[in-house]
């Protein structure tokens, strides 16, 4: 199976999950949508579950890579967070069905799937570490401050995606950025960054 059809199959599998729920999601329907034969499918996946888990890992890998590519640029830390967050919010807004699959449908399958979601959130933690140094109160910040920042953004993104308002997310960049920065910088400095983000966007 070539890379393009494989990618198409993985996306079709997650769309099946969102559209029909786990019980009715069909690997056969996903195969047909992607133009993949039964033999090709069986050569790579042991079944529906295997395909779903591979799809989740693959798509989330892309999401993290795209968001972090912006974070690697040589800008001050809050600006890199803004750029990464902006990229992430646009990706979610442009692919609301995939966002629903990644945040709600797949993690809800069973505990092992939810653990993948927890692992996905943890992958954003390293990008927050520099915020500790940037804060000026590095030693005093709580041990989990990076995950607190990630969780703040996740709460807003999850509820917009879940309510079918994913397209609104890019316009919400200033307030989401504020929520991510406030654990590191406090509300006054985070509000300054929020205002700058509002002007930039």
């Amino acid at each position: 199976m070539d890379a393009q059809r494989r990618d198409c199959l993985l996306r079709a599998m997650l769309k099946e999950l969102v559209g029909k729920g786990y019980g009715d999601a069909s690997a056969e329907a996903a195969r047909e949508a992607a133009g993949v034969s039964a033999a090709e499918f069986e050569a790579e996946f042991s079944g529906k579950d295997d395909c779903l888990f591979v799809a989740y890992d693959r798509i989330t890998e892309n999401v993290v890579r795209r968001a972090s590519a912006e974070c690697d640029q040589a800008e001050p830390w809050p600006e890199r967070v803004r750029l990464g967050l902006e990229r992430l919010l646009w990706a979610v807004a442009e692919h609301p069905e995939m966002a629903q699959a990644l945040t709600r449908s797949f993690p809800g399958i069973r505990p092992a799937a939810y653990e993948r979601y927890v692992a996905l959130l943890s992958r954003f933690v390293p990008f927050m570490r520099e915020g500790r140094e940037y804060s000026g109160v590095e030693e005093e910040l709580p041990g989990e401050v990076e995950l607190l920042a990630v969780g703040a953004a996740e709460a807003i993104i999850f509820s917009e995606v879940d309510a079918g308002r994913a397209e609104r997310l890019p316009q919400m960049l200033p307030e989401i950025l504020f929520s991510v920065l406030v654990p590191f910088m406090g509300p006054d400095r985070a509000a300054d960054e929020m205002r700058s983000a509002a002007i930039s966007s």
Binding site: P107, G108, L121, P142, V145, L148, G151, A155, I156, S179
Partner: protein, 215 residues
């Protein structure tokens, strides 16, 4: 034991006990397999009760899971209310409330999982609505800390989300018992947007002392 037997003997204690066993079993089964894969049969086997007893109390699986969720929400609000009465001072109260809440989650990991993970993810609209209602109550409690008494709702939802991320990670990785140790992080998360970083850090230090004294 027949339904009629239960009703005619007037053994209310027994029926209440059956209901609680079923709710605990529902929470345990969801923690082990997830709500979608949990069946009423699984719950009955785990609870060690007859189907007749289940149907006295619940109309089906969703009704039972919702009752288990509501039990956790009610107990949480009762604990928060009791903890809140320990101090007249708002920030002091927040520490007592956080401590009581985290200790409750640590002592009821299956119910905590149902409240924080399954209800949000499982696909049941009623469960999700119940989760959203409980989250709104907690967010409103936090907004009262805003300088003008009416902090913006996006801030309080995000602050709650920050604390929830840590709670969910501990629950999903089987470390619920560790939650009370995270009181300083919890206190900091729910205070910092409203009282400023310096005060939130001070309260987190006090919370760390409080957590250490509890150990």
């Amino acid at each position: 034991m027949s339904v009629l037997g239960l009703l005619t003997t007037g053994s209310d204690v027994l029926t209440v006990s059956d209901r609680d066993r079923i709710l605990q079993a529902m929470a345990d089964c969801c923690a082990r397999s997830g709500y979608p894969e949990t069946t009423v049969k699984d719950v009955l086997e785990r609870a060690g009760v007859e189907r007749e007893s289940f149907t006295i109390h619940f109309s089906g699986k969703e009704d039972c899971a919702l009752a288990a969720l509501n039990k956790m929400v009610s107990e949480s609000l009762a604990r928060l209310s009791m903890a809140s009465s320990k101090s007249e001072e708002a920030l002091e109260r927040r520490k007592f409330e956080g401590q009581a809440f985290l200790e409750l989650l640590a002592s009821r990991p299956s119910f905590a999982n149902l409240a924080f993970i399954e209800s949000r993810q499982c696909g049941s609209k009623r469960m999700h609505d119940a989760y959203e209602s409980a989250a709104r109550v907690l967010a409103l409690m936090m907004e009262r800390l805003g300088a003008d008494g009416s902090g913006p709702s996006a801030d309080s939802r995000a602050a709650l989300g920050a604390a929830e991320a840590v709670i969910r990670r501990e629950l999903a990785t089987g470390r619920a018992a560790r939650l009370p140790e995270l009181l300083p992080d919890f206190v900091y998360a729910v205070l910092v947007p409203f009282v400023g970083q310096r005060e939130a850090l001070r309260q987190a230090r006090l919370a760390a002392r409080m957590a250490a004294e509890e150990e």
